[in-house]
Symmetry: C2
Subunit: 255 residues, 2 copies
């Protein structure tokens, strides 16, 4: 059996997340349908992450095993021809037999986009949170540095999650403005259910004074979900990059 | 009667162009519906341009007359609340009684976006032409300079147009690459039916060798539509800026 690794990009607005489910269209369901059509096999697909309904991906990794000896470049072209246009296969390559898109993922980078204009941007519908109130990016960036490090992120995790531990390490994060677009970027070794969206909601609560400046360390220590901010909408969230020991798509070692 | 000037931004994918028509939803129809709801009056709306179905606008100007003394800022907020989210009102201001969005428009700038990646960009569906073949931007930019000046653009006009003269002046144009996004920008005092889209189709034909380098001057002189290239799809076209003697939105004299 060959083990094939794909990097995908998708507009999440059309899907109920990556992972297949009984109700609603998903990226995984579309991918399995396309693979079955191209290869005549039912393939099991392993995704690097589940992603919520409406969440986008600039880079998403998954793998599947196949009996087929189809050339990877032909497979990439075939998949892009039969997949819906909201999903693009960026690269397709054979991986070591043991490669697993989820277990081998060393780190993930998420971006959360906020349109901070006075009026809605029609080109960012379902692609960014529209927030027409003042955002002090220097203040937000400073507050966000309290996420960096190894912490118990229970306070930043929606109920219903089923992970063994809620300790995660955030390597870096930043809040940057480009014109009216404000982007929160965060990179870490793993993320709990809704974690990035609660981080963003907490930053917005800090901005509007609902939480006092410097609250993040005590919210983390409390491990109490009710102490953190609201869950920001899915539409602004992008899985931006995924990192593996054998290289990522973005560093040019793939594709 | 007050004369009110609006600057709009809209995602054209949802509309059959600006101008109202019996079949299909249009930006003008939505605007008239919103004005009637807010002001309780049937307003006539004068747009700076018709725009084809699927064409976008980063800046579009229109005006209407009203009996209402509604504050312009309140009107802007009201319009943005009732218009579909694919249309955004960027500014709303009182104009001189004689102002006419079409007749007073001194120049227009269009941008045509081409996604020149190897694979489709899911975030640019209906927002750019997907063209996965090599584009030499320096060559295209050089060829495009032949459009600059005052010419009879009959060869770059679709049949069915009803204008008195087909002479137009192009002030400047350029072809620029930003990563995998290639943008053709053109500014002139007026544009014929499908003119920008035929200009782009001609540049693509020059790139693929279907037309010899340096053909544009002779195509212009021929005044023969069959000598120019194909009409590029509407989805990549944006009305980018509109210029008036009393200032434009982009130069900060409005909004």
């Amino acid at each position: 059996m060959r083990n094939i690794k794909l990097f995908l990009q998708f507009d999440g607005a059309a899907f109920h997340g990556f992972q297949q489910q009984p109700n609603g269209d998903t990226v995984e369901a579309q991918l399995k349908k396309a693979l079955s059509r191209l290869l005549g096999e039912a393939c099991t697909v392993y995704g690097c992450s589940r992603t919520d309904a409406g969440v986008h991906a600039n880079e998403f990794c998954c793998n599947f095993k196949t009996q087929s000896d189809r050339d990877c470049d032909k497979l990439l072209q075939g998949l892009n021809a039969v997949l819906p246009p909201q999903i693009s296969v960026l690269s397709c390559a054979q991986a070591p037999e043991s490669f697993h898109a989820r277990y081998d993922c060393r780190a993930k980078e998420y971006a959360y986009c906020i349109w901070n204009g006075r009026t809605r941007n029609p080109f960012l519908l379902q692609r960014a949170l529209f927030h027409p109130f003042p955002l002090d990016v220097a203040f937000l960036n400073e507050q966000a540095q309290d996420f960096v490090g190894t912490h118990d992120f229970s306070a930043f995790c929606a109920s219903g999650a089923s992970t063994k531990t809620s300790v995660r390490t955030i390597e870096r994060c930043s809040v940057v403005r480009t014109g009216e677009l404000v982007t929160f970027t965060v990179c870490g070794n793993g993320f709990l259910y809704h974690m990035v969206r609660i981080m963003v909601g907490t930053l917005l609560d800090l901005q509007r004074g609902k939480l006092p400046p410097g609250s993040i360390p005590s919210i983390l220590r409390s491990a109490d979900r009710t102490r953190a901010g609201v869950t920001a909408p899915a539409e602004g969230l992008y899985l931006n990059r995924v990192f593996y020991d054998e290289g990522s798509l973005s560093d040019g070692s793939e594709g």
